[in-house]
């Protein structure tokens, strides 16, 4: 049976990379470069961190293709759900920052 273990240095390297990415993402949140670049940087770094954790810490590199298939299935369905939902919401003609009926306040004043 194949031993599923990386050398200890690789784990430490990945850990340091994750901490660096955490620092970068916090720093980037202070940059005033507009909403969309800001969101893309934050989520892009999160995806890089996810890939590092899945491939190295979770040993997906060592698994058979069937495990890759099952791991990808959840992601694929999530992408379908998000993309179909957002095509709907982004193409509706609702005024931003208002309730569905166009009223300025969604939750009534207490």
């Amino acid at each position: 049976m194949a031993k599923k273990a990386h050398p200890i240095g690789l784990y430490l390297l990945v850990y340091l990379a994750l901490l660096c990415l955490l620092g970068i993402t916090i720093g980037a949140s202070y940059l005033n470069i507009g909403r969309y670049p800001n969101n893309i940087i934050a989520m892009g770094i999160a995806i890089i961190k996810m890939l590092l954790i899945i491939l190295i810490f979770m040993h997906l590199k060592y698994e058979r293709w069937i495990t890759w298939f099952f791991a990808a299935a959840g992601m694929v369905w999530l992408c379908i759900m998000i993309s179909l939902m957002m095509t709907d919401y982004l193409s509706r003609n609702h005024p931003v920052n208002s309730s569905p009926k166009g009223e300025p306040v969604f939750i009534s004043e207490r």
Binding site: M1, I26, I54, E63, G74, M75, I107, R110
Partner: protein, 225 residues
């Protein structure tokens, strides 16, 4: 052919059992992706709808407490990975040490999270309990100098508490699993051949870490207009 006691009767050998168990864990994690995915999806739709209120909500959260918690969780993941590595080499003494440290970091995360919730309550951010459009900082100022929160920020706070709350529940379950594994390790149940429970518990622990890796930027860091 006789099998060792740790191979269940439906499996041919330990390798087949290990693959089945690992695959089963990934199936479970796929359903978990969709569980948290639905929350992220509805969060996205509401965020595109009320961008200003949600940005204001992100600004009101404690970025540094969340950042420290991310570091704590990443550290716990490192020690979990080390525990799995030691388990594969049959070094049970090290496995017990790494599992203890992992659990300690997990408990530390929950403690910091609880402290953060208390701070949120002080800032009057809890919807339907004490949410106020006037922050505690602004309370003493004259109305013209105040920067009131949008009412829809309550919606952001609902997402915040549900998403981080479910994440904390997953952490709690993970801590319980790690404690059980710790007892099993101390009783000498694992060996270099049979250590799969530690490995798939590790998968779960890393997954909960990944959820937080996405929650943190989505909730705390999207603060530019």
């Amino acid at each position: 052919m006789t099998k060792p006691a740790y191979v269940e009767q439906q499996f041919e050998d330990i390798e087949q059992q290990t693959h089945a168990a690992t695959l089963g864990m990934w199936v479970f994690l796929s359903t978990e992706i969709l569980f948290f995915g639905v929350l992220f999806c509805s969060y996205m739709t509401c965020r595109t709808r009320w961008p200003d209120a949600f940005r204001h909500g992100s600004e009101d959260l404690f970025l540094w407490i969340g950042g420290i918690n991310t570091a704590v969780l990443l550290t716990s993941s490192l020690f979990m990975a080390l525990a799995v590595r030691s388990a594969a080499r049959g070094d049970n003494r090290r496995v017990a040490i790494w599992l203890c440290i992992t659990t300690a970091f997990g408990v530390a995360f929950l403690g910091i999270k609880g402290f953060e919730y208390a701070q949120d309550a002080k800032e009057r951010l809890i919807p339907e309990y004490n949410f106020s459009t006037i922050s505690t900082e602004d309370a003493g100022k004259p109305p013209s100098k105040q920067d009131p929160r949008p009412q829809q920020e309550q919606l952001f706070m609902v997402f915040y508490f549900i998403m981080t709350g479910f994440h904390a529940l997953h952490m709690l379950a993970g801590v319980g699993v790690l404690l059980v594994l710790l007892i099993m390790t101390l009783r000498g149940r694992f060996s270099a051949e049979y250590h799969n429970p530690i490995e798939i518990a590790g998968l779960y622990w890393h997954f909960v870490d990944i959820v937080w890796v996405f929650l943190y930027p989505a909730l705390y860091l999207l603060r530019q207009a």
